[in-house]
Every structure is written in C-alpha cells, then in structure tokens.
C-alpha cells in the first residue's frame, strides 16, 4: 500500500511539474499535451469506476465521452451563432460558461449511461462487452448521419469556453483547470471505493448471490456505479471538446472506447492512479513512436500485448506490487 501511495504522489506531482517546467522554458505545446493527459486520465477514472470497482467491462464508454463533447457543442454553438438554443416551450440561450456546461454534460452522460446500462446490465460477462460496444456504435452512426449538429463534419467552437476568474485560452491556465477537475474526480473515486456503496459494489462484483442474500440488489448497485462512471467520462468529453475547440463523431467511435480502456489497463485496473499512469504512458508512446515510424501503431500493439501477457496489474501493479485483486 505504501509504495503505491508514494507512486501516486509522484504521478500527481509529475503531471503538475512537467507543464510548469515546459511553460517556464517556453514550450506551450508540452503544456497542451499534459492537458490532454489530464483529460484522458479523467475519462479513464470514469471508466475505472465501472471496470475496476464494478467489474463491468464496458467497451462502449466512447458513447459517454462523445455525449459530453456534444453537450458542450450544443450549448456553446448557439452563443457563437447569436441564436437561441431553443425558443419553445421556453426561450433558452446557449452558454459559454464551463461550470454550466460541465453540469449539463454530466447530466447528459448520466442519462445515457442509465439507458444503456439498464439494458446492458440485464446480461453480464462477454454479452456485456459486445452490447456496450454495439450501443456505442449505434450512437456513432446516429451522430454521423443526423443532419443537425454537423454530422461527420462535427462542430467547431472557435473560442474556448470561459471559467470565472480564469483565462482559459492561456494553455497553462486551462491545464490547471483540467488538472483540478482530475484531482477532484480522483478524490470522488477514492471516497466512493471506501464508502458503504463501494463495499456493496465490490460485493456485487465478487459474489452477486451472496450480496443478494444480504438484501443488496446487485443490479441497482451496478447500475448506479455505471451511471456515475458515465457522468465522469462525459465530463472528460466536455473538457476534451474544449481542449480541441471541436467535436465530431470520431469521439464516439469504438476505437475511442478501446483507447480509454487501454489507459485504464496500462496503468492498472482498480488502481486509483491507474488511468493517470496509463494515459501519460499512452501519450508518451504515441509521440515517441509516432516520431520515428509511420507504422507506430504496430509497435504500440506489440507493447500492449507484452504488457497484458507479462506485466499483469499494469504499470502501477508492476511498480508497486500487486495486492488489489481484480477478478
């Protein structure tokens, strides 16, 4: 436990120190990369609640990531175009305020997760994997072919949304904001794992029959966890859309689901800081390998394969020893 705590502190401080140093040296792009790591790690933190704590192998989390992104664009686009978001049944202007957008993204993500989860959790195991993948793909095709909101072209939001008291267009300030949100989500995740609800969830994962005998309904406990997971991933989607000032259906594609899952597993399933370590390593590999070969994904695949086969428990498991069992 102690070694993992030290490792977590190193990761948290490292993710903070690198962009600050880059800023001092006049390398704003590294700040942007660190922001990407923080936001993708946040998506991983969301998935980790379903995957690590709840044992729900969702291969459709891109759905919530994309819902969050589109929530941002749907709210911000009308402001950009000087048109109200809707005029009936009541007039509603859009917004460029991040806190409002975040709440909307989380609510939308939670509702999406409620619908998909309620259907998918009727099954388990390999069915669950395939069904979440299929529902994710359904939203992807819907986003591509539905003519409102840009279809495959997506929507550009030319100016990043605002946060009270900050200049979000400054890379380092936007990084600080994303980092703060990531830390808050990690806190939520930590509290959740140790709460009565977390214990009930662990019970539902390890032994649903016994949980049911104790009066806990595994279905509703798991569904609640899935909804929280979807909401956090949607929040990450909203931030990711703000990072790129752009959303498109590619956020909803199954490759995105696969990549979010890769962050979690690279870092270590059910480890608090697993997604942070995983996202950082993934972005590092992407930039390092991408630098010397057009076919860098081949090497990424081989590296992933090696990690699954020989370094179980991911990066944190390898470095800190394995004691948190996932099953």
């Amino acid at each position: 436990m102690r070694r993992e705590t030290v490792l977590n502190a190193v990761l948290a401080l490292g993710l903070l120190a690198v962009p600050l140093a880059a800023q001092a040296m006049g390398e704003p792009f590294i700040v942007t990369l660190a922001t990407k790591v923080a936001i993708l790690a946040l998506a991983g933190v969301g998935l980790n609640i379903a995957l690590g704590l709840g044992g729900m192998v969702s291969l459709g989390h891109a759905a919530f990531f994309g819902i969050g992104g589109y929530a941002m664009a749907v709210l911000a686009a009308p402001v950009q175009a000087y048109e109200p978001l809707m005029t009936w049944p009541f007039e509603l202007a859009g917004t460029k305020s991040m806190p409002v957008i975040w709440v909307a993204a989380m609510v939308a993500g939670a509702l999406g997760a409620l619908a998909i989860g309620a259907l998918s959790l009727r099954t388990s195991g390999v069915y669950f994997i395939m069904i979440t993948l299929a529902f994710g793909q359904m939203l992807y095709y819907f986003a591509i072919s539905w003519p409102a909101y840009g279809g495959e072209d997506g929507i550009s939001i030319y100016v990043r949304n605002g946060f009270p008291g900050l200049n979000t267009l400054d890379p380092i300030q936007f990084f600080a904001l994303s980092y703060g949100v990531l830390m808050a989500a990690l806190m939520v995740s930590w509290v959740l794992a140790r709460s009565g609800f977390g214990l009930a969830l662990a019970g539902a994962r390890q032994n649903p029959v016994r949980s049911a005998a104790l009066g806990i309904r595994p279905y509703s406990v798991k569904l609640t966890a899935f909804v929280i997971s979807g909401a956090i991933t949607a929040l990450a989607g909203a931030l990711f859309a703000d990072l790129n000032r752009f959303v498109s259906p590619s956020m909803l594609s199954w490759q995105t689901s696969g990549e979010i899952m890769v962050f979690v597993i690279l870092g270590g399933v059910a480890r608090l800081f697993g997604p942070v370590a995983g996202a950082a390593l993934f972005i590092l590999l992407e930039h390092w390998l991408g630098g010397f070969s057009e076919y860098w994904k081949l090497f990424l695949g081989l590296a992933l394969l090696g990690i699954v086969l020989f370094a179980r428990g991911g990066l944190i498991g390898t470095l800190a020893g394995r004691e948190v069992a996932h099953d």
């Binding site: 192998v57 009727r122 299929a134 359904m138 819907f142 899952m261 994904k297 081949l298 086969l309």
Partner: protein, 305 residues
Amino acid sequence: MSLMLLIEQALNGLQYGVMLFLMAAGLTLVFGVMGLINLAHGSLYMIGAFACAAVAAATGNFWLGLAASLAAAAAAGALMELTVIRRLYARDHLDQVLATFALILVFSEGTRWAFGSFPLYLDIPRALAGPVRLPGGIDYPLYRLVLIGVGLAVAAGLFWLIGRTRLGIRIRAGEADREMIGALGVDISRLYTIVFALGAALAGLAGALVGALQSVQVGMGEPVLILAFVVIVIGGIGSIKGALVGAILVGMTDTLGRFLLPIAFSTFMERSQATSVGAALASMLIYILMALVLVVRPGGLFGRA
C-alpha cells in the same frame, strides 16, 4: 415499389446475412468452446481478403486465391492461438479484450506495411460474373446467388460437423464441461487450436468472398466484427443455430430497413429530407433490434443464459 423489387431486396438481405454468419460462426464457436472473446476476428477476415487478392493477382486465378485465403487465415489463426490466445484462456475477459485489441493494431499496421496503403484489386471470377434471370423476371447477380449457396452449405457442413463427427462431440463436450474432457484424455490444447483455426478459416473465407465484391483494404474487418457481435448477441452466444438465425435477421433488417424506411418517410416528408432522416434511422435499426431481443430474452434467441 413492386413486389419483384421487394423480393430482390430480400435476396440481398439473405446474401448479406449468410456472409455475416460465416464471421459470427467462428466467433461463437471460439466463445462457446474456449470462453474467449476475440476482437481480432475481423483481422482474420482482412487476412483472408488480402491473401486472396495477392494470390489471384500473382496467378490470375481466383480459385487459387480462395484456397490461399482459407490457408492463410487458418494459419494466422493457429499461429495466433499458439503464441497469444493460449495464454488468455485462464484470464478474465478484460485481458482478452485488451490483448486482442492489441492484435488488431499489429495485424492492421503489419498488413499496411506489407501491402501499402492503396486498396488492392480483386474481382469476382469470370465464370460467375454477370446477372442471371430468375423465375419472375428478376435479373440477379450470379455471384451473389453463389454466395448464398456457399453460406448455406457451410452452415449445413458446420451442423454436420458439430452434430455427427468425433470432433463435433469433443467440441460439444468442451462447451459443456471443460475440465472433464481433459480428464477423459482428449488433447485439449490441440482441440482448441483446431477450433480456433476453423473459426479463422471461416472468417478468411468470408473476407475473400466478400472482398471480391467490395474493396480489399486495411480496416475492412472491424465494421463486420461489430455486426457479428450484434448477430451473436441476438442469436445467443455459443449457438451455431443462433448465429445463423441472428445473421439472417440482421441482414434482412438492415437491407430492408435501408430500402423501406426512406420510402415510408417520404409519404409525409419532403423527399430530400425523408431520404436523409430515413437513412439515419436505418443505420440504427439493427441495434434497436438487438435492444428489443435483450428486453425479451437477455440470453439471446437460442442462448442458454
């Protein structure tokens, strides 16, 4: 809209369905016997198509290419099983998903490395080119009729293999109780390799047959893989019969939905808009079908859950 057009569309749906069956059968077998989820099944489909295109281009003979696709996919499958998949049987589904996701990256980029980024040329054999006239005056492409025949023949062969042969008995025993057949002296690791290679060969066959109609390019396998998952979820995991029924249901729903929905919408909407909205809904139709099946029968139509 005439009755003839509707029949022709139903034939198209059937043809689409039996090709999906070739993909889904391998997946469902591997899951039923080994309890393994294989995302890289789409890569085997792609390997079959590339092998067929490469050999057909070199020899000028489609049938040699088809044989090569079976051999290449089966060999790639066996190799994959021996080096990677074998280590995953005892792992949870999560590790299986990640490892086979990594295999997709390796196969896709490896193929691109070997064959380049441009799509390959592969055409249907001359003997099967062109349309034939069916009773009722429908001109229907001969090659597609052959595909329907091949798909149904493979389905019959699989039912025979599983139901009537020694290998089939072992496969069924393996599905029922994995430890027991090992204890009974069946060489279980060889059985697994054979089943995996069989599933791979079916995917490769589908890739080559469909590749001749479509375009042979990197990434062609993944959309089909996801549809095969939908098929399996609808049919019930591990059931060959479920895979067949599910595949034809999905093929029919998709083809007829794409055809009929825009027509239905144009009865009360302006044409341009109706075709666009109808097409958008049609692309979601099979997933809606899947959701409905889940509500009624969570284990799929022929599943045991």
